[in-house]
Symmetry: C2
Subunit: 89 residues, 2 copies
DNA sequence: TTTTCATATTCGTATATTCGAATGTATTTA
DNA sequence: TAAATACATTCGAATATACGAATATGAAAA
């Protein structure tokens, strides 16, 4: 996907360079999840999860759909994420 | 390669999350280079290049061989690096 | 409308990262 | 040995990141 230069690619790595964000992204590979689902899967406070989700959204890695009072987050480029993580198997 | 968990993988991303370090790594994909070669390729001060190389070495991404008064740096896992960057083409 | 539930934002503080300038350390050459 | 070359390390200041606590928002249920 259109990320040719160093700054874009290193910025992308920076977003994935936090264990919590990496966990979130990995969980989202299995499908949409709302914030409380993610919070149950990952040991972290609600505000912290929200903060990381916000950064992921800012960097165009996730988006969400409102479902009632919940927000269901999903990966915007699941194949990119999958391809990258595949390298570490 | 042997990087199972979130912490290891996110730490690896963190090392690549700086434009200068990513540039260094990309240049080293073309083969060994000594510090002054790298400095010529990348617009940065000598001490700064050294600092980034030191971090790359600490994280087991590069190593070097002494050649006279120069140090020739090279990638320890060039295929891993190549495979990761390939994803962004 | 009030309350409740799900999530977001703000704020303060602690910690980490980055860089340049200066200095240190080998190694080689004179 | 002394000077030069190549690179590393240290230090301090600026900036960035991370987190929890508290508070805010917004949708739905009562």
């Amino acid at each position: 996907m259109g990320m040719r230069n160093y700054k874009n690619i290193s910025a992308f790595f920076k977003v994935l360079s936090h264990p919590t964000r990496l966990m979130i992204v990995k969980e989202l590979l299995n499908g949409k999840k709302c914030v409380s689902d993610i919070r149950d899967l990952i040991k972290a406070r609600q505000s912290n999860i929200s903060q990381h989700l916000s950064l992921l959204k800012l960097n165009n890695i996730v988006a969400y759909k409102q479902k009632g009072k919940m927000k269901c987050y999903f990966l915007k480029k699941p194949r990119l994420i999958r391809d990258i993580l595949k390298v570490f198997l």
